[in-house]
């Protein structure tokens, strides 16, 4: 051992060599392997310290889940975020309509009949021909219309997803039967069916067993019956491609039942398209419900709905412009907001999209 200890001269020499060759870590110093190895540990002062520092202050890699990426992408979409804020506001007003609306929707103010919009007495949107406060009526109209739209979206999403999932997963005859039925629904002339069904189902609430089906709910049922087809096709397509994936086979090999594979393994992969389609259904439902109510077959009075408000208002023509303009504007705003949110969600939930600065 003693013969391998460097003399002070040697050590100085070695230190010099090491300094000159800084960065070549692991390169044996000139004066023999043993000596070089002993000289090296003295070296880490300059470059070595810098190195550790840069590691510590370097990129801290944070693992992000798919949802985190989706959230980031969604919040980059400014229009979608603004729309979300608007929609949340509208929904808030609709939900708390009773507390927020200055008047009841059927409350008469006989001193102000057909008054133009004014700041007095809170008649911001004016009053209609019976002296009912129009702001309150629009707020309650939004409440009805939004409720119907969400009802339609949820119901048709459930139906469409179930149809699409079963058809796509099992394929063959089952697929053929279910999809031909879907095609059949798609070929029905929408408006004609809607009008017939609305007329047939009547304009009041009815009792089915222990369930009371209110009139707006009836409109929702009719719309949902026609709206699930698009989603069924989309979900079927996703299922068709995913059921061939190895992870489905792996789930099968681990003993999962068909139901479990559909619900636990494949369905989570379809959430993106389902959510997007659902928002688009909401927008369409609001518009179609408005059209239906405008034609007098939708929501029946005294329930105010946006469509029937426009229908009532247009009787007077341009003189009472506010009766048409305000509910119309609200419809446009809601439909646009929901569409923009759908756009944002589609971009956000598409995993092939990278985050752009």
């Amino acid at each position: 051992m003693s013969d391998r200890m460097p003399t002070s001269d040697q050590r100085a020499q070695d230190n010099e060599t090491v300094h000159m060759s800084r960065g070549n870590v692991g390169r044996p110093a000139a004066g023999g392997a043993g000596v070089g190895a002993m000289a090296l540990p003295e070296e880490p002062s300059g470059a070595g310290a810098d190195l550790t520092l840069s590691y510590e202050s370097g990129v801290e890699l944070k693992a992000r889940s798919q949802w985190a990426y989706a959230r980031i992408r969604f919040f980059r979409h400014r229009l979608a975020v603004a729309s979300l804020v608007v929609l949340i506001l509208v929904a808030f007003v609709a939900i708390f309509a009773k507390q927020i609306a200055p008047y009841g929707y059927d409350e008469l103010d006989l001193e102000n009949i057909a008054a133009a919009p004014t700041l007095e007495d809170h008649h911001w949107f004016g009053t209609d021909l019976l002296g009912r406060d129009y702001l309150s009526r629009v707020i309650f109209g939004v409440r009805t219309s939004l409720w119907v739209a969400v009802f339609v979206a949820v119901l048709s999403t459930l139906i469409g997803t179930a149809f699409g999932a079963v058809a796509g997963y099992y394929g063959g005859t089952v697929d053929n039967l279910l999809m031909r039925f879907t095609d059949l629904i798609l070929t029905l002339p929408g408006l004609a069916v809607l009008l017939t069904a609305a007329a047939y189902l009547g304009s009041s609430s009815s009792q089915v067993g222990p369930l009371t089906i209110s009139q707006p709910m009836k409109v929702g049922l009719i719309l949902a019956f026609l709206f699930w087809t698009g989603l069924a096709r989309i979900v079927r397509g996703v299922f068709l491609s995913l059921r061939e994936k190895e992870f489905v086979e792996a789930a099968k090999a681990s003993g999962a039942s068909d139901m479990r594979i559909i619900v636990r393994h494949i369905l989570p992969n379809c959430i993106g398209p389902i959510v997007v389609t659902m928002t688009l259904i909401i927008a369409t439902a609001i518009l179609v419900e408005a059209a239906l109510s405008f034609l007098g077959f939708g929501i029946q009075p005294p329930n105010p709905a946006l469509g029937s408000l426009i229908a009532d208002g247009q009787v007077q023509g341009f003189e009472t412009w506010w009766l048409v303009t305000f509910p119309g504007l609200v419809i446009v705003i809601i439909a646009l907001a929901v569409n923009f949110i759908g756009d944002g969600l589609r971009d956000a939930l598409d995993p092939t999209q990278r985050i752009r600065a």
């Binding site: 798919q66 190895e246 992870f247 086979e249 792996a250 789930a251 681990s254 003993g255 636990r264």
Partner: protein
């Protein structure tokens, strides 16, 4: 010899296609004994996977069709078992490790959830907390570092080797008696392959499972298998313990396989391939399926007309070969295989 845990007898599987009937697996029989590792080797399309998948009801029917045979798991025939019972066997008593860990994991579920799912499928009463504990333990067994944190990560946050470890953890989640590994290392690079071999050993130690190892990697067979089934064109051509297969094969196809191995310890200019192509399973040659490529048959009449039966050699009847002239195959035909076994052990 103990009773086999799994016994495949006379299994014949066909696929009806537009071009005709594909004879994927013909009259295949083999036993799997408790705790052993049985390797199944053969080239692509030799029926290695189909023989196993059909046993678990994992081939599409139609076009697939199980023509005859039995797959006895502890005395019960898997092929005629009601669907519900078969589901309990799958993943519970007979579990599978798949070839490609990149696509065999669900991209939208966390690794932990997927393994817990396998547990809760077979033990519906398990609480999420208990399942989590078990999953973390399993991940540690298969060598996933910081398992607690990894539980909540998604497959895309795992490397290929780590994913295959997770797949193995999922397969052993319910303490299976039989573990089927379908080319478990094919999709991985060589250094990871070596690690996965260790993980397979750990998994077998943890569960005492008998393993069926399907592969075309003879190195993996030499490393892991106790006994070996050699398949060619849907038939079993030879069955013996791993030393016999490498040292004294008694079928010209096995001899050809051994001679075609790339050798690290010898200076070879060229590999020695088996001449010709594997036969189409739509239209197999009559007689011995291997005879058109067989250097040994040399146009003998019997090879072309008569399908050779599996016959036993040596003591104990544990070495089976399907060649009419197996006795003539001398040991000097083989040198490569013996060295490969020595090198790996």
């Amino acid at each position: 010899m103990p009773d086999p845990v799994l016994s495949i007898q006379d299994l014949t599987v066909e696929f009806n296609t537009e071009d005709g009937v594909v004879h994927a697996v013909t009259e295949v029989s083999y036993d799997l004994f408790p705790g052993e590792t049985l390797g199944i080797v053969g080239e692509s399309g030799s029926g290695k996977s189909v023989s196993v998948m059909s046993m678990l009801g994992l081939i599409p029917v139609p076009p697939g069709k199980i023509v005859s045979g039995q797959a006895l798991y502890q005395g019960r025939d898997l092929l005629t078992m009601p669907k519900k019972q078969l589901r309990n066997v799958r993943g519970g008593e007979v579990a599978m490790i798949f070839q490609d860990p990149m696509t065999s994991l669900n991209p939208v579920l966390t690794i932990g959830d997927q393994i817990a799912e396998a547990i809760q499928t077979h033990h519906p009463g398990t609480s999420d907390g208990d399942a989590r504990k078990r999953v973390v333990h399993l991940l540690e067994v298969v060598g996933v570092p910081s398992a607690e944190r990894r539980f909540d990560q998604y497959p895309h946050e795992f490397s290929g080797g780590m994913r295959q470890r997770a797949m193995i953890a999922m397969a052993i989640a319910n303490d299976p008696a039989v573990l089927i590994a379908d080319e478990p290392t094919t999709a991985l690079d060589v250094t990871i392959q070596a690690q996965i071999v260790e993980v397979m050993r750990a998994a077998q130690e943890e569960t005492d499972a008998a393993i069926i190892l399907i592969t075309h990697d003879l190195g993996l067979i030499a490393e892991l298998a106790d006994r070996v089934v050699v398949m060619y064109a849907g038939r079993v051509v030879e069955l013996a313990d791993v030393y016999t297969i490498f040292n004294a094969p008694r079928h010209p196809y096995t001899v050809g396989l051994m001679n075609s191995l790339a050798r690290v310890d010898m200076d070879q200019e060229w590999l020695k391939p088996i001449p010709g192509q594997p036969p189409s399973l739509l239209n197999r040659p009559p007689g011995c399926v291997f005879h058109p490529r067989c250097e040994f048959s040399q146009g003998r009449e019997r090879c072309r007309t008569e399908v050779p039966a599996l016959r036993s050699f040596g003591e104990g009847g544990m070495h089976l070969s399907a060649c009419h002239f197996a006795e003539e195959l001398a040991a000097q035909h083989v040198t490569a295989g013996a060295a490969a076994v020595e090198a790996s052990s």
